[in-house]
């Protein structure tokens, strides 16, 4: 039971990170109907920039942890958002209204460019940083002496995720920006006829997705403490899997899918084998898609003839 609780906590932490990345995929897919393959690499860049801010803080002598965290969050989000914007502007906007595969290929190209750019600019070796937040609460202890711990860092990750989700739900539901996003999602041509600036809305979507990916990158930098240029790929496909699992195009679905993938991964590693945890995640995805092709929370597609 204690072991299970611990895995639950770990899985939820991992799931929060996947969920935040998955939102970026699902929003882009919802609006322009393409898989943004470069999104995983944007997340990697977010992690690198957060790490860079941490190192600069150390050099400047800022050692108060809340200030460090706040700086990492704000700076990484702003600078990574610029990457999201640029990727869309360079590789996707010129291909709007083209064939369905053209933006997919340029997205894969963009992903290759970003990861190799980071490899060139920062070197191929993994970058370790010391843990920023240590310690945690002891929740329970079994008779055998197994301690279930909820780390302070894990609490920070949960709180940040919840705050972001609430803020995001508000943004989509109540603000003019969210309204124009939903309008574009339903019918891009009609939205532009009604005075919504479609190009700007899509840019904003990419900026928002990249910002959330940057938060996820910051969390992962703090949680695992090691970044390398290739980390975007695996996290990216798992997050995309999460988005599909939850029902692509649906924001709560992306979060739910992310948490499920995180839990499956943690539980599978704990009770079966670490090697095959990715196989388990994909296996569940295949099963869900076979029996519920639109994902858990997705709306069924209406086939038009």
């Amino acid at each position: 039971m204690e072991y299970f609780t611990q895995q639950l906590i770990n899985g939820l932490t991992l799931g929060s990170i996947y969920g935040l990345i998955a939102i970026g995929y699902t929003m882009v897919y919802g609006i322009i109907g393409m898989i943004n393959f470069a999104h995983g690499d944007v997340y990697m860049i977010g992690a690198f920039q957060a790490m860079m801010v941490f190192l600069i803080c150390g050099a400047l002598g800022i050692s108060w942890v809340p200030l460090q965290l706040a700086l990492m969050l704000v700076v990484a989000v702003i600078f990574t958002a610029a990457y999201g914007w640029s990727v869309e502007r360079i590789a996707y906007r010129p291909l709007r209204g083209s064939t369905r595969l053209a933006p997919l290929i340029s997205a894969i190209g963009m992903s290759v460019i970003l990861s190799n750019f980071v490899q060139l600019a920062q070197g191929p070796r993994p970058k370790p940083i010391p843990p920023v937040i240590r310690g945690g609460f002891k929740i329970m202890e079994s008779d055998a002496g197994f301690v279930v711990q909820l780390g302070y860092l894990q609490i920070v990750i949960f709180l940040l995720t919840i705050v972001l989700m609430v803020g995001f739900a508000y943004l989509i539901a109540k603000t003019p920006l969210g309204r124009s996003q939903r309008a574009c999602e339903q019918d891009m041509k009609m939205a532009s006829l009604l005075g919504v600036n479609v190009d700007r809305t899509i840019s904003q979507t990419f900026v928002m997705g990249a910002a959330l990916a940057a938060v996820a990158g910051m969390m992962v930098t703090l949680y695992w403490g090691v970044n390398d240029f290739a980390m975007g790929f695996v996290a990216g496909i798992k997050a995309f899997t999460a988005a599909v699992l939850g029902g692509i195009g649906s924001l709560p679905g992306a979060m739910l899918g992310g948490i499920l993938i995180g839990l499956i991964e943690a539980m599978w590693s704990a009770y079966f084998s670490t090697e095959y945890k990715d196989v388990a995640a994909f296996g569940i995805l295949v099963l869900v898609l076979i029996f519920r092709p639109t994902g858990l929370l997705g709306r069924p597609e209406i086939e038009k003839v």
Partner: protein
């Protein structure tokens, strides 16, 4: 153009103000992209926490040069192409020329910021250039070349006047027809060139090996073309079948002692069987769902290859795979008693080139078989059903075509050719490991199909030459190779979104439309 005149009438911004605004915007974006990622370089030293050094000089140059390029493009838009032509030309000659001179004559390049810091002015005997790295300077030089080309195009356009809509459509039609004619001529030419190239004086071992690699990807591209180009199924895990083929040959040759020619059909069968087994549960899915599931399958196969140590050798892979034979006659210098080697058979002096050349012709024949098969299949009912399915699945279902079995045959066909290519890969490398079957391989093969112009056989060959050949030729770029690969991928897509040779139309078509009605009428 219309929107531009409208905004011009509203606020009447001059070219200069627009250029300044855009330049400022560009400078801001460049700063945002580069400040943390290029401005600081992490340095890991043994036993010490991660540190960093700053490189602000390079960013400063980026912030100056990139907006200048932007200004040139804005000036083009307003018809003042002359200044951007001159400026771009000078920048190109300086940046690219300097980089070429440096690489050709081995003269070091000195970064300007090193001068600014003044670390060692006297020792700076090289060419002063903004970035101090010939390749980065050359990249900026190519950017300048782009500006020159855009300026020349603008000058031509202003000389000839704008095209009307009809003229543009006619031009597009012409270019599509030209692509078709081109591929009719280009196809046989390429085949002839491929056959005679080993006998030309400038062929050497390196060239033949590069060509063998390119042909492997051409074959994979043609195989995937059946799935993506003809049947319209987006498969992101194609490399899984390639892996099945490679491991089949490795296991069959090592455990059962079969030689390449006996294993080849078996490997194809195994891969096709895998295609059916993986495809059956998921082919009901549409479009992007299928893409992600195939991607997942590709990753699953790779993970299983890594972890099923007993059968696949795990991450170490399988080595010592049997070499190819000339239909039973080995390519050996010293054959064991009683066997006739290839050299003995034809009374030739033994040479290691024999095997290399033979492998080259084997993959050429295999690739051409794939091509021939695809072309013939397109004319069969099953091929037409694939194309119809690509265009409209619902209509197909209404016409009584079973989408699942039709898709499954496409999947199995594509997988079979990947299996052949995989066992060829194993017999060429003599060593295989899961490293060779990562997602990026699937992405490369898909990119070859899409860049070639979906459904165009010659286009696939051209794209393979571009994407696989160019990086091989530019091995000296080493670290920048993959970066260049990504850039080429994005640029080709932006330049020709429908692919290099795009004339995607069903093989058999009910003729309609203005220009073609006459033909139909004449037939009637």
């Amino acid at each position: 153009m219309a929107t531009m005149t409208m905004t011009a009438a509203k606020a009447a911004p001059t070219a200069l103000t627009v250029a300044l605004k855009e330049a400022g915007m560009t400078a801001f974006v460049v700063f945002m992209l580069c400040f943390l990622m290029i401005g600081f370089e992490t340095q890991a030293t043994q036993g010490q926490p991660l540190g960093f050094v700053t490189r602000f000089g390079a960013i400063a140059w980026g912030i100056v040069l990139v907006p200048l390029g932007r200004v040139a493009l804005v000036l083009d838009r307003y018809g003042h192409a002359m200044p951007s032509l001159i400026g771009g030309g000078i920048a190109f000659l300086y940046l690219f020329g300097g980089a070429v001179i440096s690489l050709a004559f081995d003269i070091p390049i000195v970064a300007y910021n090193e001068h600014i810091i003044g670390s060692d002015l006297a020792a700076a005997g090289g060419i002063p250039m903004p970035f101090g790295d010939p390749i980065v300077d050359a990249i900026f030089g190519l950017g300048a070349l782009y500006i020159v080309v855009m300026a020349v195009l603008t000058l031509r356009r202003t000389a000839h006047g704008e095209l009307t809509l009809e003229a543009r459509e006619a031009k597009e039609g012409r270019s599509s027809a030209r692509a078709k004619r081109l591929s009719l001529v280009l196809g046989p030419t390429l085949i002839v060139v491929a056959i005679i190239i080993p006998f030309t004086p400038f062929s050497d071992r390196g060239l033949i090996e590069t060509l063998t690699l390119i042909l492997t990807y051409v074959m994979l591209g043609w195989g995937l073309n059946i799935v993506v180009g003809l049947a319209g199924l987006l498969d992101l895990g194609y490399v899984a079948f390639y892996a099945v083929g490679a491991y089949s040959y490795a296991k069959l040759s090592l455990d059962l002692g079969l030689d390449f020619w006996a294993s080849l059909p078996l490997a194809g069968m195994f891969a096709a069987f895998f295609g059916v087994a993986l495809g059956f549960p998921v082919l009901r899915l549409r479009g992007d769902y299928l893409a992600i599931v195939t991607l997942g399958f590709g990753e699953m196969v790779r993970i299983i290859l890594i972890n099923w140590q007993v059968f696949t050798g795990g991450p170490n892979g399988i080595s010592g795979i049997k070499k190819i034979t000339f239909f039973g006659f080995p390519f050996e210098r010293n054959a064991p008693e009683g066997t006739v080697t290839f050299a003995n058979l034809f009374g030739l002096e033994f040479s290691t080139m024999h095997r290399v050349l033979f492998l080259y012709y084997v993959i050429l024949v295999l690739a051409l078989i794939t091509n021939f098969f695809t072309i013939r299949l397109r004319r069969l009912p099953i091929g037409r059903a694939w194309e119809a399915l690509r265009e409209d699945e619902t209509a197909c279902r209404a016409l009584g075509i079973n989408p699942t079995t039709t898709k499954l045959t496409a999947f199995a066909m594509g997988a079979m050719f990947a299996g052949f290519a995989g066992s060829f890969f194993a017999v060429r490398q003599l060593f295989i490991s899961p490293e060779s079957f990562v997602f990026i391989e699937s992405a490369v093969i898909l990119a070859i199909v899409v860049l070639g112009g979906m459904g165009s056989q010659v286009g696939v060959a051209l794209a393979a030459i571009l994407l696989i050949g160019l990086p091989e030729v530019m091995r000296e770029l080493s670290l920048y190779r993959m970066l260049a690969f990504g850039v080429v991928m994005v640029l080709i897509m932006l330049w020709r979104p429908k692919g290099l040779l795009a004339h995607r139309e069903p093989t058999i078509l009910l003729r309609r439309g203005n220009g073609r009605k006459k033909k139909a009428g004449a037939l009637a």
